[in-house]
């Protein structure tokens, strides 16, 4: 890097003859960047920065005022930021101020543990750091005209399946693992389960959007017969009046969404109080009303979320670190092979 900059500067020096000014400018820039670094850890004062993925926004907008009505939350202000989970995680890693982070999947927390920004014992609590659950479902057109009920139905001749690409959307990795794990639940071998994914992606997925929200956009725009979606997203779309129904397959994965206090927070007491509040019946109920499955048993019982007979978790498939390297590594992995298979006919 230094060598390269030097080379470029030489280029500028010879062509313009104003190296001194350029160097001065660089010094100013360096100073500015360094200055920015100083206050990037936390907003401080009595303000909490919540950095979250996009979908629970509506829930948090109800939960935050409820928290502010409690003694622990009195006088605590919130800065809220919502965007794609991976982007938010990378943002915090790069210096975006955050006291509490809420992501759609655990690897986005792991990134911050590696960066020493979240304590490695973040998941020691009774709910292992997970604040909401959901499941992967089949979203279908009103009346389910293609009568999609099972994973096998997705591979029927002419059926188009919409799912985001798992390399661009961490969340889409839940979909892939649901499809894969379902095959294992159905008694297939690992090899057969991989063949299922291959068939699905090569012959039935006509569009690979970059995120779940865009996949929903594509589906609502009229493309596809079925969309792999999270139950909470499907409920959200229904509540928003989109013409969508959904089927919970008998075999599916339990989606678990983590939340954590950052170790860089300057307001840890309030941040921890907020995270603790998320597990109270009141907050869990709000999550439940917004389409998420509460993690607290008693509250979950208040809702009639169906329990699929063969519900499995990511740990049943080896856990995220293992799944990530086996399925979604960009150098060598099962899903990379599937993508390359798409290139065979055109080459």
């Amino acid at each position: 890097m230094a060598k390269l900059l030097e080379g470029l500067m030489t280029l500028v020096r010879t062509s313009a003859g104003h190296a001194a000014l350029l160097l001065g400018g660089l010094a100013v820039l360096t100073a500015t960047v360094a200055g920015c670094g100083g206050d990037s850890a936390s907003a401080g004062g009595n303000t909490l920065s919540l950095v979250a993925y996009s979908t629970p926004r509506e829930a948090y907008e109800e939960i935050i005022p409820a928290f502010q009505d409690t003694p622990a939350g009195e006088g605590v202000d919130f800065d809220q930021s919502y965007a794609a989970s991976g982007e938010q995680s990378r943002g915090v890693e790069a210096g975006l101020a955050a006291d509490v982070v809420a992501f759609s999947l655990e690897p986005d927390i792991s990134r911050l543990i590696d960066a020493d920004m979240v304590a490695s014992d973040w998941n020691k609590g009774p709910h292992k750091g997970m604040v909401t659950d959901s499941v992967v479902v089949f979203a279908v057109r009103p009346g389910n005209p293609e009568n999609i009920q099972t994973w096998d139905d997705l591979l029927r001749e002419g059926i188009e399946v919409i799912t985001p690409n798992p390399f661009t959307s961490g969340g889409a990795q839940w979909n892939i693992m649901a499809a894969y794990g379902a095959q294992l639940e159905l008694g297939k071998s690992e090899e057969e389960a991989v063949d299922y994914l291959k068939d699905l992606f090569v012959n039935h997925v006509p569009v690979q959007d970059k995120s779940a929200r865009e996949a929903l956009q594509t589906f609502v725009a009229g493309k596809g017969d079925v969309m792999l979606a999270y139950e909470n997203e499907a409920i959200f779309a229904k509540q928003a009046g989109q013409p969508i129904e959904y089927v919970v397959p008998d075999q599916t994965i339990l989606i678990e969404n983590p939340v954590a206090v950052t170790s860089t927070s300057k307001n840890k007491v309030a941040a921890q109080a907020f995270v603790d509040f998320l597990y109270t019946p009141e907050a869990q109920r709000i999550f439940g009303e917004n389409g998420y499955r509460p993690v607290v048993e008693d509250v979950l019982g208040e809702f009639d979320y169906p329990t699929p007979p063969n519900l499995f978790t990511i740990d049943d498939l080896g856990g995220w670190p293992d799944v990530r390297s086996r399925f979604f590594d960009r150098e060598e992995s099962i899903f990379l092979d599937i993508e390359n298979e798409l290139g065979v006919p055109t080459e």
Partner: protein, 259 residues
């Protein structure tokens, strides 16, 4: 002369901070794993497919823009019609519209629920449409002022000397417009190869088929493979650089020809 030195200095620093430094950082990041790793990234089959697709579609789009953009500028300068100023204002809208909105709009109009009965969504045609939309203003806005300044007496002189309208256009007007057309075309190309927002919704992003380079890069970033992202970006930068330099050379040549 002192003022000249100062302004040169300011622009050098400014360009360094705003353009050169970030680009240098991208180049540096792409070479972090060495040249061999760089080559591995840019020569992987999906990367090559994405780059090829991006290059060819951008080139076609620029060709189309060059013709229609020049024509549009001509109509706006030389013709008089009702609503001309409205049309004139319309030209810049693709710049003002957030590209993601452009993509959404195109999807609504040319997608599965098309009100005009044209469904090209998730095909290469859709990518071309999106790129045509976002690059429209470049050639028009480059040619328009030159056309306005063009001395019409030259054309009248040519006509009075017996030149046909076609000859007048070819020998008088076109050479004068050429530099502007070329710079507009080069800018269009630069914008087209890097375009992301308007393409992402409508292209379908299928590797080897409709995945353009910017989407390929985005994928690498989302998979925490910044080196791959930087490497493919550098190829895009080089492509644009070659085209910009090529246009510049052609531009000089046509100027010399003109003189």
């Amino acid at each position: 002369m002192r003022a000249g030195g100062l302004s040169l200095g300011i622009s050098t620093v400014y360009l360094s901070l705003i353009v050169l430094l970030p680009i240098a950082a991208v180049v540096a990041a792409s070479l972090e794993g060495g040249l061999a790793a760089f080559w591995d990234e840019v020569s992987s089959p999906p990367a090559v497919a994405a780059l090829k697709l991006t290059f060819v579609i951008s080139l076609l789009v620029v060709l189309a823009n060059t013709v229609t953009g020049t024509l549009t500028a001509w109509v706006l300068v030389r013709d008089d019609f009702r609503g001309k100023s409205a049309v004139n204002a319309l030209i810049d809208l693709p710049f003002a519209l957030p590209t993601i909105v452009a993509g959404l709009t195109l999807l609504a109009i040319y997608g599965p629920k098309s009100p005009v009965g044209v469904d090209v969504a998730y095909t290469r045609t859709a990518i071309a449409l999106a790129l045509l939309f976002v690059t429209l203003p470049f050639v028009v806005r480059a040619v328009q002022p030159v056309l306005m300044e063009l001395d019409r007496e030259m054309e009248q002189a040519a006509a009075s000397l017996g030149a046909s309208p076609v000859t007048t256009f070819r020998r008088i007007i076109l050479p004068n417009l050429m530099p502007a057309v070329l710079s507009g075309a080069a800018l269009s190309f630069g914008k087209a190869v890097g375009e992301f927002g308007s393409v992402i919704l409508i292209s379908g992003n299928i590797p080897f088929d409709t995945e353009v380079a910017s989407v390929h890069i985005f994928k690498a970033i989302e998979s925490d493979d910044q080196e791959a992202a930087a490497a493919v970006s550098v190829v895009l930068l080089l492509l644009s650089l070659f085209v910009l330099i090529g246009a510049d050379i052609l531009e000089r040549r046509s100027r010399r020809h003109d003189a």
